[in-house]
């Protein structure tokens, strides 16, 4: 796995181009949360030619629907949700300047191609490690779609959020490569 890399958002093309699958990254800075419902609303705005509630240029979206925060805490447990539900929306957002996505699980070919074309990265956060991941969240504030509850868009300030590069600008896929390396099935 090699050296741990520290990255700061917003991400530039150079930051993303240097990443390769399997790289461990500690991400700091602003990250936005959004799940299916928020994505759907953003797509409607894009189709209607209206501005998005957040400027996504250079930004990173974290697919998470956090648990309610205990009093005195910025956020409750906050691990990733399964990403494939966002696959239909991601290429468009990447085209508009989104640089990174954080989630868990495989992405579609369209998303992987869009990462190559528009220079983006897909990070995996450990699914089910919500208590650990929440520790990296310093601030959380709802910035759009409050009515969606856990699915609202939040602006998070994170420090050293532990991530793994799953899809890079070369079109590589850690899920494919990793399984190939460790499979003992002749047909796999």
């Amino acid at each position: 796995m090699g050296e741990i890399l520290r990255l700061q958002t917003p991400l530039r093309d150079e930051d993303v181009e240097a990443l390769r699958i399997g790289q461990k990254v500690l991400l700091s800075g602003v990250v936005y949360t959004a799940r299916d419902a928020a994505h759907r609303r953003m797509m409607d705005l894009i189709e209607a030619g209206k501005p998005l509630p957040i400027d996504i240029k250079g930004q990173v979206i974290y697919y998470v629907g956090p648990a309610p925060a205990k009093p005195g805490r910025p956020i409750g447990s906050a691990g990733p949700t399964t990403s494939y539900r966002m696959d239909v929306y991601s290429p468009k957002l990447l085209e508009l300047g989104l640089k990174g996505m954080i989630g868990k699980g495989k992405r579609s070919k369209e998303v992987i191609d869009a990462l190559v074309r528009y220079k983006g990265v897909y990070f995996g956060a450990t699914g089910g490690a919500g208590a650990l991941l929440a520790r990296s969240v310093l601030e959380a504030e709802v910035v759009a779609y409050e009515d969606l509850g856990p699915e609202a868009i939040r602006r998070l300030v994170v420090r050293d959020l532990p991530l793994i590069v799953v899809n890079d600008v070369l079109g590589q896929d850690l899920y494919e490569e990793g399984v190939k390396r460790y499979s003992r099935q002749p047909q796999a």
Binding site: M1, G22, K24, A37, V64, G65, P66, A67, P68, A69, K70, G76, S77, A78, G79, T81, T82, Y84, K104, G105, K106, G124, T126, G127, G128, A129, G130, A131, L132, L133, A134, R135, G149, P150, P162, I164, V166, L174, Y175, E177, G178, V179, K180, R181, Y182, S183, R184, Q185, A188
Partner: protein, 279 residues
């Protein structure tokens, strides 16, 4: 007749859901520790270390280990000599879920299938009730996350495929699930009965203690073989590739119709949460 009060059940259910969500069972922790020693992939090892650290933080800070605190599944074994006073048992369970998810700062994940409108309090609970001899009331709380439940399935296999066909089906399910159910997983298999019975057997199988063996030697052997085949898939922790894809395979079986062979696979993520109380 032994009497058990409504409020006692509410309190118990509420407490069990909070405990289940914040404290991972010792058997699961042990299994993850062993997995970490055995895992050859450095990324896999790292993930397993994160899971152990996560469980520690969750317990220490009394926060849910995973933000998906699940739909509230409840297994009830009610002694036939128990009498519930002060209200209906099911209502007490629903109220317990309501209270537990509110007071424990657990996420409410129950919604309308079409509109997706959240019910707001994580009810209704999914209750599986069994009447047993005696005067005790056993309640098992099992918050079940969506990611791993989505990767589960029931198949009505052709009886001629036999045991090898069943095993191929189970391995195929886990392979297709890949990284989605947050591996390392625990695999519950229900064989026989009817469509719905196979599914309940599979879910119930997930309540077994990790590291325990199946009392039926044939099923025990089958569990071991399945575990080996699943770990040979190479999916690994979080699906990043590695030796440990599953921590255990549990099978429950019963007779079925001469024309059928129902097989259910219920996948459980590493956040294998269940807590029980006997009243």
């Amino acid at each position: 007749m032994r009497e058990i009060g409504f409020e006692k059940i509410v309190e118990t259910v509420s407490r069990l859901f909070i405990e289940a969500n914040t404290e991972l069972g010792e058997d699961v922790l042990d299994a993850i520790r062993k997995a970490k020693d055995m895992e050859e992939s450095p990324t896999g090892k790292e993930v397993l270390a994160e899971l152990l650290e996560n469980a520690r933080i969750a317990k220490e800070e009394q926060v849910p280990m995973c933000q998906d605190t699940g739909l509230a599944v409840v297994f009830v074994e009610m002694g036939q000599d128990v009498h519930i006073v002060g209200g209906h048992l099911y209502e007490a369970i629903q109220e317990g879920v309501r209270r537990g998810y509110r007071d424990g700062y657990l996420r409410k994940s129950a919604c309308h299938p079409f509109t997706r409108a959240n019910t707001g309090d994580n009810t209704p609970a999914i209750i599986h009730m069994e009447l047993v001899p005696g005067d005790r009331l056993k309640i098992i709380a099992m918050p079940k996350g969506g990611g791993s439940e989505n990767m589960s399935a029931v198949a009505m296999l052709t009886p001629s495929v036999g045991k090898p066909g069943i095993m191929d089906y189970v391995v195929k399910r886990v392979k297709e699930a890949g990284s989605n159910p947050c591996p390392p997983v625990i695999v519950g298999v229900g064989i026989g009965g009817t469509l719905e019975k196979a599914a309940i057997l599979a879910k119930r199988a997930l309540l077994r203690r990790l590291g325990s063996s199946n009392p039926d030697p044939e099923l025990d052997q089958m569990e071991r073989e399945l575990l080996e085949r699943i770990n040979d898939l190479g999916i690994g922790p979080q699906g990043y590739g590695g030796r440990i894809t599953a921590l255990g395979v549990f099978i429950e079986m019963m007779p079925c119709h001469i024309a059928s062979l129902p097989v259910a696979v219920n996948i459980q993520c590493h956040a294998a949460r269940h807590k029980e109380a006997v009243l």
